[in-house]
């Protein structure tokens, strides 16, 4: 843990305690403890298969954890009624690794899907709102009428970002936002994420392997290793944290405690 920061006494926006999840008897999360403070951008790092995606899927209610608590604004969502939980999740947005845009709908309906599905907006207004959201993420007005399948990977990511923020959520999750993009497009997406999160004043949780992206997006960072959080601290410290696991991962070095474990 970093000791440079003064302790924040506010109630965390998201608090995970003792989160455990196994698949077919194999533990993936083995007691995850994590606090994400309001308005902060937390980046969760970790190798493939360490449970980063499972962690955010548990928070989003897509996977039920075996043990532990998930608190949002101080309330354990796992003990809430379905209706209460739906209301909490209604304030979240999610950008999936592959975009997960709906093939059967044009781009503008994808962007305003949540608003349309809940009947909060007419189709005409949704179309206008989608165009505004697309312009915000650097896409032209004509993109709204296109099919998602006809867009490039970078454009799909931008549309997915526009969809994630269209309902102005309090908490936004980003799953590998720059995977599969060239470095320049990755930097563009990171910039858009930072701008959108700041504009909304939202709390953000990002999982990534991309260290450049982690430093650009994150205020704070956490390292997930063997199903546990082994380090948390400012994202700016990545690479010189003093924790050999984190430093090796951040520098992408072949030799170190993670590689040693792989060889055993």
């Amino acid at each position: 843990m970093s000791e440079a920061q003064a302790p924040d006494t506010r109630t965390p926006k998201i608090r995970l305690r003792g989160l455990k999840k196994s698949f077919n008897g194999k533990p993936v999360l083995d007691g995850v403890d994590l606090d994400v403070m309001p308005g902060r951008s937390m980046v969760i790092l970790g190798g493939s298969g360490t449970g980063k995606s499972v962690t955010i899927k548990c928070i989003l209610g897509l996977i039920e954890p075996d043990e532990g608590t998930i608190e949002i604004d101080g309330r354990n969502v796992l003990t809430m009624s379905r209706r209460e939980r739906a209301a909490v999740l209604d304030r979240t947005g999610m950008l999936f690794q592959n975009g997960a845009l709906f093939d059967s709908l044009p781009v503008w309906e994808n962007v305003c899907f949540k608003l349309l599905a809940q009947g909060r907006i007419s189709r005409e207004k949704a179309r206008q709102r989608a165009v505004e959201a697309l312009v915000d993420v650097g896409l032209g007005m004509g993109v709204g009428e296109m099919d998602p399948a006809s867009l490039s990977g970078g454009m799909q990511k931008r549309v997915a970002l526009a969809r994630a923020i269209a309902s102005q959520p309090d908490i936004i999750f980003f799953d590998e936002p720059t995977t599969g993009l060239d470095p320049i497009m990755g930097a563009v997406i990171d910039g858009l994420i930072v701008d959108c999160v700041k504009r909304l004043g939202a709390t953000a949780v990002t999982i990534t392997h991309d260290m450049a992206s982690a430093r650009r997006i994150g205020d704070d960072a956490a390292m997930l290793h063997k199903g546990r959080i082994v380090w948390t601290g400012p994202a700016a410290e990545l690479g010189h944290t003093g924790n050999p696991l984190v430093d090796q991962f951040a520098r992408g070095e072949r030799e170190g405690p993670i590689a040693m474990e792989l060889r055993r």
Binding site: F96, D103, K114
Partner: protein, 284 residues
């Protein structure tokens, strides 16, 4: 020296006599396999039943998705019409030819119109339409929803505050129940028309006499039983198509397997339920 290269022997399993062939008859293994299969079948049946109940329960709870219902309805009732219509016409034609050929052996050629209308309305209309729709719509439902599953689109629905069951399953189930009877009604008419064409153009029946024999012999129950079967078959096709897609796993191969499973399982269930419904309607 001469016995230096003895092959390593496989460890003997405790309590089991080493058998000379790998396919030795072991009764307890067979019983265990049968038990596992039975438990698996019960588990799958229960899971499908719960899936169906959950899907149907959303019919009573808003929000509703009429656009999705309309899309699925048109897909079944309108876009399946060419293939089902052609099947019905040719089936009616073949039925007329076959029954004429068979009945002529004992001088009952006059019953051709009766046999055609009864076979089409009671059995062949709903069953053949069900099988054709199973291949066309069941496969499409499974492939579409399965692809959504493996590309995280179903998870995306949840994160966008939309219940995937309500959005993907319920409209399709309702469309299956309501569209299939309409489709089968048209198929019945086309099937009888096929028989009429062969009867009048090839077999020498007079048009009015053929139609009179058809209408005089037909009872409401014949048509209604076929339409009830159609509604059940439509439900089965939509249910198994959505179920197989919704539970698919493992990328493109998983979607392919889900599509195959949807078509095979719904086809078998259609044939089995056809017997059950026929027994319920007509057994004395």
């Amino acid at each position: 020296m001469g016995r230096a290269t003895a092959a390593p022997t496989a460890p003997r399993e405790p309590g089991r006599v080493n058998s000379p062939t790998p396919l030795a008859f072991r009764p307890l293994d067979w019983v265990a396999a049968l038990g596992r299969a039975t438990i698996g079948l019960c588990r799958s049946t229960g899971a499908v039943a719960l899936f169906a109940l959950t899907g149907l329960s959303h019919l009573l709870r808003p929000p509703f998705h009429p656009r999705l219902f309309l899309r699925a309805f048109l897909e079944i009732a309108w876009f399946s019409l060419p293939v089902v219509g052609l099947t019905a016409v040719f089936t009616g034609m073949v039925l007329a030819l076959q029954s004429f050929s068979g009945f002529s052996r004992f001088g009952a050629e006059g019953a051709v119109a009766n046999v055609v209308v009864l076979s089409i309305t009671r059995e062949l209309g709903p069953v053949l339409a069900g099988l054709m729709v199973s291949g066309r719509i069941g496969a499409a439902f499974a492939a579409e929803i399965g692809t959504m599953r493996v590309t995280d689109q179903i998870d995306a629905l949840t994160t966008l505050s939309t219940d995937p069951m309500k959005y993907l399953v319920t409209p399709r189930l309702l469309a299956g129940i309501l569209a299939m009877p309409l489709l089968v009604l048209v198929a019945d008419i086309l099937g009888v028309m096929g028989g009429y064409l062969i009867g009048t153009l090839k077999l020498g029946f007079s048009g009015p006499a053929y139609l009179k024999a058809t209408l005089d012999f037909l009872q409401w129950m014949d048509v209604v039983s076929g339409l009830v079967k159609a509604a059940v078959f439509g439900f089965v096709v939509a249910l198994l198509g959505t179920w197989c897609g919704y539970t698919s796993r493992g990328g493109a191969q998983g979607v392919g397997a889900a599509t195959t499973a949807a078509v095979v399982s719904s086809s078998i269930l259609i044939l089995a339920l056809d017997y059950v419904l026929t027994e319920a309607f007509f057994a004395r």
